[in-house]
């Protein structure tokens, strides 16, 4: 694939379609929904680029974020409607987000999160809630993006250890098995 900067907007948008579709499928969407989510993402990206090209620093990251957010929205909507969806040709395990609404899991997760140091919470919040990239976190921490990733991983492991692991194993054993493999 050529660098995005060497291609016209239309060309690189269509170049993004295949990896975005694979990404959407990897998130567990059916091929029909993956197609919808990718199209929505590309339309949003084109719209945003037409409106103000300079406002998007990394269009590719923007497109992937839209696809991921739309996929999450799809899962949430589906969980709310309690729909049963038949998987098509990708037998990956699916997790329903409503299973995570388990009160015990929420409470233990909250306690683990509250037990972190203020700086660790700040980092996790920036990454998962405010959409910072590893590169930005690295700049903030004065280290490489990869080391920022290692730091985030360490904090996440700290949260997921102990009571959260037990609560998750109780709330959703299959998901816990998936998550704590290895």
């Amino acid at each position: 694939m050529e660098s995005l900067s060497e291609l016209s907007t239309q060309e690189w948008i269509s170049d993004l379609e295949a990896p975005l579709s694979r990404y959407a499928l990897s998130l567990g969407l059916s091929s029909h929904d993956a197609q919808d989510v990718v199209q929505e993402g590309l339309i949003a990206l084109t719209g945003a680029m037409d409106k103000n090209r300079g406002s998007i620093r990394n269009p590719k990251a923007y497109a992937f974020t839209i696809v991921r957010n739309n996929a999450n929205k799809h899962f949430r909507d589906r969980a709310r409607r309690n729909e049963v969806e038949i998987l098509e040709d990708h037998p990956e395990p699916r997790e329903d987000l409503d299973k995570f609404d388990e009160p015990l899991l929420k409470e233990t997760f909250r306690q683990a999160y509250a037990g972190l140091s203020e700086s660790d919470r700040d980092l996790i919040r920036k990454y998962y809630l405010e959409g910072w990239t590893y590169e930005q976190l690295g700049e903030e921490l004065g280290c490489t993006a990869q080391n920022a990733w290692k730091t985030v991983k360490k904090i996440v492991s700290q949260i997921l250890a102990g009571e959260v692991k037990k609560a998750l194993s109780k709330a959703d054993p299959d998901f816990a098995k998936e998550l704590f493999k290895g």
Partner: protein
């Protein structure tokens, strides 16, 4: 897969999941997912972790902020009650004199 290789691909997987990966990095992850079962497993694990974190962090943060606000409110109320008590006692002393 040795430890350094696992760290390297683990980071690339995370970049691919969040859309931070370059085209080349993304292609590498996807190719390795298709050809290496261990990488596919790491990818699924990273997706599961991300899904859990994204669904729980927001709630945990909201709950913590609420708790902190309640604690701050309780402290303000205690301080106010102590101040009112002090004023009342001062007033009583003044009346006695």
């Amino acid at each position: 897969m040795d430890n350094s290789n696992e760290l390297e691909i683990g980071f690339l997987i995370e970049l691919a999941i969040t859309g931070e990966a370059s085209e080349q990095q993304f292609e590498e992850v996807m190719t390795r997912i298709e050809s290496e079962p261990e990488t596919a497993e790491l990818y699924r694990q990273a997706l599961a972790e991300r899904k859990l974190m994204e669904t729980q962090i927001g709630d945990a943060q909201e709950s913590l902020t609420r708790q902190q606000q309640q604690d701050a409110q309780k402290i303000r109320e205690q301080e106010l009650a102590a101040e009112q008590d002090r004023l009342r006692r001062e007033n009583e002393l003044n009346q006695d004199m």
